[in-house]
């Protein structure tokens, strides 16, 4: 069972609290009627389905109820980072930085917890 960090609750919670909500950064067109049939088809059905890094949406269903975005590796199942809905797609550097600081954070919080 995965541990997922909710960017709104700012806490790691077990996977059972979350639901998956498909690929991220596919905005609903502002004026769908302006789209050709092919463009609308692509918006509705065409997804990247990558092997490796995937930008995707999750919802903290049994927590705060918020939708948020995540970067997850579809091969290892590891989350590189999560971020709030509406923030732009993070770049390579930001992702690398976030996963490194997450690792440091968890080590620091362990030390803080020492009696």
């Amino acid at each position: 069972m995965l541990l997922i960090r909710c960017p709104y609750c700012e806490a790691e919670r077990p996977e059972v609290e979350f639901t998956y909500a498909g690929e991220a950064h596919i905005a609903r067109p502002a004026d769908p009627s302006a789209l050709s049939d092919d463009e609308w088809r692509d918006f509705l059905f065409i997804r990247t389905n990558p092997r490796g890094r995937h930008f995707e949406r999750w919802r903290h269903m049994h927590g705060c109820g918020r939708f948020f975005n995540a970067v997850r590796d579809t091969v290892t199942d590891k989350f590189a980072m999560t971020y709030k809905a509406g923030t732009p797609r993070p770049g390579d550097e930001e992702i690398a930085l976030a996963s490194a600081s997450a690792a440091a954070d968890s080590a620091a919080s362990v030390k803080d917890a020492r009696p």
Partner: protein
């Protein structure tokens, strides 16, 4: 009964003698015995029959990897378990056990004829031998073979035990309580980290339990162990879990532990769970699972009395049991020599040590000479004899060139073998950690890991006690450090440790035809070396295919003994090195785990939530039959004495149409949509136009997916300019709210709207029938109920019986109707008041079935029954509900995609059978021409079908290609009894002018 217990040996408590039975014979064991050790102490080796060939089988191992000694165990009071491993089952007073897969008895088993017919059962026999004639498959081969092959019989009674589960978090989880695991846990414990140490056996110690003469830091092994146990017990930050198997290792250091709590007890304390599943999230994991001894592959290696040498040593040193009086050892590894020495010193006549290696450490030969044990270096074993127990072994010298010389036969009653040791890397493999082939040790070792995890000791190829202690201590200290704690690993000084070198090979060389050698690789699945070679000859190249074709490694022991031997044979047959052939994947659980442990508390009433409305209790007291609707339990109908469902529903329908019915509609999904942008949000979500809907009025709302297909519907009331009371289908409530939240949070976060689920805050009582207004008028305050002031599709707030209400004038029956929403806590009281006052109108409670019939008579659809996620509003005849002038709403763009405008789409229509008495089956297929050849061209199917008491005939809905243009045409519904003809009609069967609604 002969006694094989040796005085002064072992850890079992001889002062506590326990009586138990096996196959109806009473035996005595000691406290601390497993069933296997207790049977061996009584001289019993034959414990079962093999899976396919029904060959007599004995106890092969002393651990959880046991493939042969599976028994049925009866702990009384309906507590029966098949396939219990005798090597794990702890003996208690009164334990009853039985052998499996034999008839009429273990010693005289008819099924053993399979052994003579073994040619029929070779690799892939299922796919070959029994394919012809085809008609024999169902009637002869399948039942007969199924019956003859197999393991224990599953109990038929429900499991009387309860099972627990628990979440736990720790800094360091140590799996395995042998030398490495103990050292790791002591280290991590001393650092102050929170530690869980689990071990599958009844006591900690692992191989130390079989090494009483080793000295650790100047202490004898068992004294050291006692101190270690005490030290761990004294640390409040350490949890020690014996009888606890780590069954699976999942993402982010989530490890499942199965703890066996009561199987070893004679009397189970009241309410005590049998097993507990620990779901542990550990910051760091140390795997110290040790190693598993490999059998050697030679003809007759499966006879009772043939046993792993390490197991024999464990039975001697830990249980004080000698496994025979006259033993021969055959080995490719030093460790078996030490078993021979221990047995010889305990008084067993060890006739010979056969070592297949060309050279062995000289100190072993010297020690053997001192004990007067004959040593046959560079010899091989080519066969065994003995029907139910090994009686002799056939040995041959092998020249340096590999030529097998003349045979010699040595009498024995125990043959102890060792083909070396396999590191137990199962849990590491669960994490998708990579494995690397170690050529020197001829074993797979852990490579790159994917989790915060370390291996220690024999589990990563560090064999020997000193290595295990030091490796474990280092791993424990490092794990603690990575979890934020610091410690200086202790040092260990070990004396009297046995040497530990050896080689691994394939089948032993033989002078006989290897094509006839019954040399077993997988004991439990009866796979022989020649089966694997046959699979390779037949073209199987991948080890995964060879495994499935031969079933090698597919038994309940999951290849713990057979995988590496099978791989060695396959590699030789394929003429490719072992790492190029590859290893099959280990998967959880590590050992067989009961379903009860996985289910835990989630059974019976706790299996799934049953949602009940505040009025449910009244329905139950008044004899309702219930049906599940999503997670709700809903009143289905209210049968009176002597009524079946048909009669009850007909009576309920008539009552509603003639006078008055009362229905619990509380399960309807309800969402409160509030805010300055509420109407705009509604406009974007639903197909309908909401801007002009006046407060105090309702509208039927239709919700599509972005793909244009119908997702949900419901009546929506506007209470104020900025407030909507949305209802959804019972099953769709959560889905609709999620969809709304998704759009609001991620697409239109600028909208000032708040969504709140109010499903459980309102009780909803539907009053339907011509007398509905007459009933409530005297009890309603603050609302003018006259048709002019409060017409169909109106909503108002007021009071009823003094209770605040949102009163809707709506109808799902076609009759004058009200839906009375009151705060949930008043639901039952208001219901009872209405029921009492309604007696003068013959008020009739009705259930979901009557509701379904009444709505169908009026042509009202049910989303999810009459629609299936492929119907557009137009397909369902609901084009009128789509706001044509709205620029956009969810799904609008899809409605103009070419496929959505196609002429021959399936459309929802009414259907009247030619025979009015025939009620079609829902889901039945529809064809235009019943005389066309099969397979027929199916043009649609029946979605709803009922008996209408009002009309005195059946009615139905169906989706049919181009259905609306076929009005009046006859279609045909082929059913098993006959083909039914039916006419396509409109969907409204009762009161098409809606005169009753506005009464």
């Amino acid at each position: 009964m002969s006694n094989f217990r040796i005085a002064g040996k072992g850890r079992v408590n001889r002062s506590r003698q326990l009586r138990f039975s096996f196959d109806g014979v009473d035996y005595t064991g000691c406290e601390g015995d497993t069933l296997a050790s207790a049977l061996l102490a009584n001289g019993v080796h034959l414990v079962g029959r093999s899976f396919k060939y029904h060959r007599p089988r004995g106890i092969l191992t002393a651990g959880s990897e046991e493939p042969n000694a599976l028994v049925g165990s009866n702990r009384g009071n309906g507590r029966f378990e098949p396939n219990t491993r005798a090597t794990v089952l702890e003996v208690f007073e009164g334990l009853k056990t039985e052998s499996q897969n034999r008839w009429p008895s273990l010693t005289r088993d008819i099924g053993a004829v399979n052994d003579a017919l073994y040619v029929l059962f070779s690799a892939g026999f299922y796919y070959k031998t029994f394919m012809w004639p085809k008609s024999f498959w169902d009637k002869v081969y399948e039942p007969v073979i199924r019956n003859a092959a197999g393991l224990g019989k599953a109990p038929t009674a429900p499991d009387p035990d309860t099972y627990a589960s628990r979440f736990a978090h720790c800094d360091v989880l140590v799996v395995g309580g042998g030398a490495a695991g103990l050292a790791a846990a002591l280290e991590a414990g001393r650092s102050g980290a929170s530690v869980i140490l689990c071990d599958e056996q009844s006591e900690l110690g692992g191989s130390l339990l079989s090494e009483p003469t080793a000295e650790i830091n100047g202490q004898l092994a068992w004294d050291w162990l006692e101190d270690a146990n005490a030290a761990l017990a004294a640390m409040p930050n350490v949890t020690v879990l014996p009888r606890t198997t780590a069954i699976g290792y999942y993402h982010q250091n989530f490890v499942g532990l199965c703890q066996r709590l009561t199987d070893h007890l004679r009397i189970v304390p009241d309410g005590a769970p049998r097993e507990r599943m620990w779901k542990v999230r550990a910051k760091q994991v140390v795997l110290a699972q040790g190693a598993i001894e490999k059998p050697l592959v030679f003809a007759g290696n499966d006879r009772p009395g043939v046993m792993l040498a390490g197991a024999a040593r464990t039975y001697l040193n830990r249980y004080g049991v000698k496994v025979g009086n006259r033993a021969v050892v055959v080995t490719s590894h030093d460790s078996a020599w030490h078993a021979a020495f221990d047995l010889a010193k305990a008084g067993v006549e060890v006739t010979a040590i056969v070592d297949v290696r060309g050279t062995v450490p000289t100190q072993l030969v010297t020690a053997a000479d001192a004990l007067r044990i004959r040593t046959l270096i560079g010899w091989t074993v080519t066969g065994t004899k003995g029907r139910l127990r090994v009686s002799s072994v056939r040995v041959n010298p092998v020249t340096a060139g590999g030529k097998v010389g003349g045979a010699e036969t040595i009498a024995c009653d125990a043959l102890l073998m060792s083909g070396g040791w396999t590191p137990s890397i199962h849990l590491f493999s669960h994490t998708q950690g990579s494995l690397t082939w170690n050529e020197d040790g001829q074993m797979f070792l852990p490579g790159r890991g994917k989790e915060e995890c370390r291996l220690a000791g024999a589990g990563k190829g560090r064999f020997g006690l000193k290595a295990a202690f030091e490796d474990g201590a280092a791993a424990g200290a490092a794990a603690a450090a990575d979890a934020g704690f610091s410690t200086q690993p202790a040092t260990y000084h070990v004396e009297g440790e046995p040497s530990f070198t050896g080689v691994t090979g394939r089948e032993l060389p033989t002078d006989l035809d290897p094509g006839h050698a019954k040399a077993f690789v997988d004991f439990q699945n009866d796979v022989m070396a020649k089966d694997i070679r046959l699979a390779v000859r037949e073209g199987f190249k991948s080890i995964e295919h060879i495994k499935r074709y031969t079933t090698n490694g597919m038994a309940t022991d999951q290849g713990k003994l057979s995988n590496i031997n099978g791989l060695a044979v396959a590699s030789d047959a394929l003429k490719r090195p072992i790492p190029a052939v590859g290893l099959t994947t280990f998967r959880p659980p590590y050992t067989p785990t009961s379903f009860g442990t996985f289910a835990g508390y989630n059974k019976g009433a706790l299996f799934e939530v049953t949602r009940k409305t505040p009025i449910d209790g009244w329905a139950e007291e008044n004899g309702a039959a219930f049906e599940p609707v999503s997670l709700w339990r809903r009143a289905w109908y209210f049968p009176q004495v002597g009524e079946d469902m048909h009669a009850a529903v007909a009576r309920e329908c008539k009552a509603v149409r003639a006078s008055l019915g009362i229905f619990d509609a509380s399960t309807l999904g309800k969402i409160e949509i509030v805010g300055p942008d509420a109407a705009e949000f509604m406009n974007r979500m639903y197909t309908n136009a909401w801007t002009k809907l006046a407060p105090g009025r309702c509208r039927y709302g239709l919700l599509l997916g972005e793909d244009g297909f119908i997702r949900d519907d419901g009546v929506i009331g506007r209470l104020a300019q900025d407030r909507f009371h949305v209802t959804t289908t019972t099953g769709g409530a959560a889905r609709v709210l999620t969809m709304m939240e998704d759009y609001l949070q991620t697409e239109w976060p600028d909208l000032k709207v708040w969504l709140t689920s109010t499903t459980e805050q309102w009780s909803v009582i539907a009053l339907q029938g011509p007398n509905a207004r007459k009933l409530i008028e005297p009890f309603v305050e603050g609302i003018d109920l006259s048709d002019g002031a409060f017409p169909h599709m109106a909503v108002a707030t007021g009071k009823i019986f003094g209770v605040p209400t949102r009163l809707f004038r709506v109808s799902f029956t076609g009759e004058l109707g009200f839906e009375i929403n009151v705060p949930a806590r008043y639901g039952r009281a208001v219901w009872e008041k209405l029921f009492e006052a309604g007696q003068r109108f013959g008020i009739t409670p009705y259930g979901t079935e009557t509701m379904h019939v009444l709505r169908a008579e009026k042509g009202y659809i049910i989303v999810g029954q009459d629609t299936d996620g492929t119907l557009t509003p137009d397909d369902a005849g609901l084009a009128w509900a789509v706001g044509k002038t709205k620029p956009d709403f969810v799904g609008k763009r899809s409605l103009s995609r070419p496929d959505m405008l196609a002429a021959n789409r399936k459309q929802l229509v009414g259907l009247l059978t030619s025979d009015p008495k025939t009620v079609l089956e829902e889901g039945a297929q529809i064809v235009l021409d019943p005389n066309q050849p099969v397979p027929m061209d199916m043009v649609g199917h029946v979605t709803s079908s009922y008996w209408s008491a009002e009309l005195g005939r059946s009615i139905a809905f169906a989706v049919i290609q181009g259905g609306r243009s076929l009005q009046g045409k006859t279609v045909h519904v082929p059913m098993p009894d006959k083909v039914h003809a039916a006419t396509i009609t409109g969907m409204v069967f009762v009161d098409p002018e809606n005169t009753r609604l506005s009464a």
